[in-house]
């Protein structure tokens, strides 16, 4: 169900939703193509920022196109999955092939290739072991030849020496995580908040439950908490009409 990136089944670019980011500025549809084609690194794009802009754009144009919003959601979901795949340690390789499916022929070819590599890996291990029985001489030229070493201070100044020291002593680079928006709200807190509100009110609208939220992410987490409680059978949800008010009722034991 990959939204086809370069085809016609996405909204026309009337007053196209555009983004302005360090790595790219222009229509989001173009950015999405570039990301899906891996011409831009997904980790260079703050998806949270893009989403904020999209919502703002929806408000500005006062014309929510369901088609456009759906397409945007689908693209963001895929980008998030790619991004998570890039950032999280994992056992399975998540890549385009996995999303699109790999042909059985390719799987078979790879299994033969891999089994060949496994056999040859054993051989490499044996060579390595044999070779470890031989010791080289690491002393280099003897001290009598120390005069052949060049007079290094003839060529450099203190600043050069500092640069060389920095290069040799530099600690390994830290992983840059600035493109990941930190999550400051936890699900556990949100569950507790919902439980506390309902304990007081017995029944409440979703709007009431998030009245004390300051940030959108906090509202999102609280909504997820609500879904979690619903899944556990602790709350009952009711929504009279699409986009209507969500009524929440506590069903679990008294909190």
């Amino acid at each position: 169900m990959t939204p086809s990136a370069g085809s016609d089944d996405r909204p026309e670019e009337r007053a196209a939703f555009a983004v302005e980011l360090p790595v790219f500025s222009g229509p989001f549809t173009v950015l999405a193509d570039l990301l899906l084609d891996q011409k831009i690194d997904v980790c260079d794009v703050p998806i949270a920022t893009v989403t904020d802009r999209f919502i703002a754009y929806g408000k500005e144009t006062e014309e929510w196109s369901l088609e456009e919003a759906t397409w945007f959601l689908a693209v963001c979901a895929i980008l998030l999955e790619l991004k998570v795949g890039r950032l999280m340690p994992r056992h399975e390789v998540v890549d385009e092939e996995d999303l699109l499916g790999v042909s059985p022929d390719l799987v078979y070819a790879r299994s033969i290739e891999l089994s060949a590599f496994r056999i040859v890996a054993v051989e490499l291990g044996r060579l390595l072991e044999e070779e470890s029985l031989r010791f080289p001489r690491e002393a280099g030229p003897p001290p009598e030849l120390a005069h052949l070493y060049p007079d290094v201070l003839e060529m450099i100044q203190a600043e050069d020496l500092a640069r060389i020291a920095a290069a040799v002593l530099r600690p390994p680079a830290l992983l840059d995580l600035s493109h990941v928006t930190p999550i400051r709200y936890t699900m556990a807190e949100a569950v507790e908040a919902v439980r506390g509100h309902l304990d007081r009110l017995g029944q409440a609208s979703f709007r009431d439950l998030v009245a004390d939220c300051d940030e959108r992410i906090q509202i999102v987490v609280r909504f997820l908490a609500l879904l979690e409680l619903y899944r556990e059978g602790k709350v009952d949800l009711e929504q009279a009409e699409t986009f209507g008010e969500i009524e929440v009722r506590w069903e679990g034991e008294a909190a």
Partner: protein, 179 residues
């Protein structure tokens, strides 16, 4: 006229494999002559049961101790050169060696599991290094084996790797299962 004596002396002060051409330059002779002298010297060591051996590894000539003296040397230097690589590391090393230059992604595809950690360990140990970037979107890093890899395996060059072709024609079922 250069001699075995001079070649042996140069090899003795070298702390890495030395290309014939470097020896030839220092001795004012030809590469062919150097190779001939080295082969002569290697044979002489072998013949007299010397504690030293001379072999062509990693593109150059290199003196090392004889394997039969390994136990005594280890006791003496209180160290072992023994490197135990895990099965996963050896498998990844094999893929890099035969498919180089190769991207992280390609390695993981062949192995079917994420190999980033194991690849980093091989880079840290000097067996594998970045050798460039692929001219495709995202310009992923390309990896290849290092001269140290050849040295640590005692191979003269990459063409000294065991042939993969006969293994590829064998069926996948013969393969040792991964544990």
């Amino acid at each position: 006229m250069s001699s075995v004596r001079e070649v042996e002396a140069l090899l003795f002060v070298s702390d890495e494999p030395v290309a014939s051409v470097a020896l030839a330059q220092a001795l004012g002779t030809s590469r062919q002559e150097v190779d001939r002298l080295c082969e002569e010297l290697a044979a002489a060591y072998e013949e007299r049961g010397a504690g030293i051996t001379l072999r062509n590894v990693a593109g150059g000539w290199r003196l090392t101790t004889h394997p039969d003296a390994a136990e005594a040397v280890e006791r003496y230097v209180l160290a072992s050169r023994h490197t135990r690589l895990t099965k996963a590391a050896l498998e990844t090393l094999a893929i890099v060696a035969y498919k180089q230059p190769v991207t992280r992604h390609q390695i993981s595809s062949v192995r079917g599991v994420n190999s980033d950690g194991v690849l980093r360990a091989l880079v840290d140990r000097g067996f594998v290094a970045e050798v460039g970037r692929e001219e495709t979107p995202g310009r992923p890093v390309l990896y290849g084996t290092t001269p140290e890899f050849l040295e640590r395996l005692g191979l003269p060059s990459l063409s000294g790797l065991p042939s993969l072709a006969p293994l590829l024609s064998r069926s996948a079922e013969d393969a040792p299962a991964e544990d």
